[in-house]
């Protein structure tokens, strides 16, 4: 708690926020690029999302005349909620003052806040698509949230903490252990991340086919800088899940002290982890087809089951009787 007055720590937080915001489009571009290669297509440049964002930011905003003030406030709100959540996930170094401000449950809470407003904004203009997207998004998130918390509980049961810095430190301290509970929690969290970030097979980020879209349906009416913020927030969310999964389950390489060499190694490590994770995502998106909406509950049931099995195997196999 004494960290509060330490300016250096807060510079680290600001730096992390900037890195999250600036690196997020790159991850999306990377996944797209790998997918294109796998499908024998020529992919866009890795800088394409940045070009898209800057173009959108320069464009005039057009708002439906049926929209209320909530519609215009939502992009800013969603963006800041996602950034607040991102500020609590250790990126380069284990120790961040913000992890004490908000633990992992608060992180889930802020993501839920962003989703709440996203769904409301979808319903604001009064079109059929917006309501459809909102209704589906809330269903998916309702089923994903228990699975996610189950996975998180499995982690925190052994770390005895919900503070992400402490959890990562705990995993680092115990060294490499083949723990079935962590394996299951990892699998559960991967499935949840796919559902929550709207990737195949739950949602297709590239589609504008009316009846299959979820996230796109909600932001259909947005344009200009509003759309840019919404897209950007979604990209940050994907990066957030990527960093969360890679740093919690594979924390090796992350900086334990705030020295320049350690930070550099940390940056390289997280880069390597994200590149791998992005490739995994691209491969799985290439292999699997998008599901019908009513298959998604079975998918998320599986995620919950994995979380539950993680908890069970923690209790049955990993603790002394």
């Amino acid at each position: 708690m004494a960290d509060l007055l330490n300016l250096k720590e807060w510079v680290a937080v600001l730096g992390q926020l900037l890195m999250f915001a600036l690196a997020a489009p790159m991850l999306v571009a990377w996944v797209k690029r790998v997918k294109c290669v796998l499908q024998n297509r020529k992919g866009p440049s890795l800088l394409q999302p940045y070009r898209d964002l800057s173009k959108l930011l320069k464009k005039e905003v057009r708002v439906a005349h049926t929209a209320s003030p909530l519609f215009r406030a939502t992009p800013y709100l969603v963006f800041s909620a996602v950034l607040v959540a991102a500020s609590t996930v250790p990126l380069l170094q284990v120790h961040l003052p913000t992890t004490a401000l908000a633990d992992v449950i608060v992180l889930v809470g802020f993501l839920a806040l962003a989703r709440f407003f996203l769904a409301l904004a979808g319903m604001d203009v009064g079109t059929a698509f917006g309501g459809m997207g909102a209704s589906r998004e809330m269903l998916i998130s309702a089923l994903a949230e228990p699975a996610m918390l189950m996975a998180i509980f499995t982690l925190t049961m052994s770390a005895h903490s919900t503070n992400l810095s402490s959890v990562i430190q705990h995993v680092l301290d115990t060294g490499l252990l083949l723990r079935p509970s962590l394996l299951f929690a990892l699998l559960a969290l991967l499935l949840v991340a796919i559902a929550e970030t709207g990737r195949i097979p739950v949602d297709n980020p590239a589609t504008h086919l009316e009846l299959t879209m979820v996230h796109e349906a909600m932001i259909l009416e947005y344009s200009g800088r509003h759309l840019a913020l919404m897209e950007w927030a979604a990209q940050i969310k994907l990066l957030l899940y990527g960093v969360l999964i890679s740093n919690v389950f594979f924390p090796w390489g992350i900086a334990e002290t705030a020295t320049a060499p350690a930070l550099a190694i940390g940056a390289l490590a997280i880069l390597a982890k994200l590149v791998t994770l992005g490739m995994v995502l691209a491969v799985s998106e290439t292999l699997v087809a998008k599901m019908r909406l009513f298959r998604v509950p079975a998918f998320l049931n599986l995620a919950f089951l994995l979380g539950l099995l993680g908890m069970l195997s923690y209790v049955i196999l990993e603790t002394s009787l």
Binding site: T174, G175, L176, L177, L178, R179, P180, S181, L183, F184, A298, N301, L302, F304, L305, L306, L308, L309, L312, S313, V315, I316, L317, E318, S320, L321
Partner: protein, 225 residues
Amino acid sequence: MNLAQLGLVEQSIFVFAALALLLSFLLLFQGRLTAMVHVFAWQGFLLALLTATVASVEHSHHLFLSAALTLMLKGLMIPWMLHRLIRKLHLERHQERLQHQALVMMAGAGLVIFSYWVVLPIARLELANTRNIVALSLAIVQLGMLLMVARRQVVAQVIGFMSMENGLFLAAVAATYGMPLVVELGIAFDVLVAAILFGVFFFHIRDSIESLDVDQLTQLSEEER
């Protein structure tokens, strides 16, 4: 017992056992028969791997033998026979939606907790490092039973039965590092014979009630409806 005190190889035994439990759950929810056979084969493969690992840790040669036997029978032979059976019965595209999926899942999880509770006194006996796995193996047995209750398709039920045997085998390996080889051989051939007999039975069942849906067996009841 603490996991951190064991070596990586011993830890991997636990991972295999936990994965075998996961595969039991997957068997429960898998709707396609061919995919079920694959999952079942993976479970046999995992068991063989686990047995081999235990054998290498404990330097017991007869366990290597039973690992090889498991791999041959449960990983390859029985799945192959089931595949052939499914092809002959023209069930390759058969798909069954499990009713009340979430309820079945909860029941399965409940069975795991129940097995844990039942096994607590056994696990307190200092049998082997792997004794905690006994709870999982009991759970695999009960999940196989649950599968036979929840599914209506005869072939699916047979796979449930076979996975029950997997659970028993796991219990033997985990609790006492395997049974005497004679017993193991006997059981293995029993299972094999059972698989062959079931195959014959399927054709008879289908001939008499023109379906492999066990709910149709109520036709055989003499009671007037």
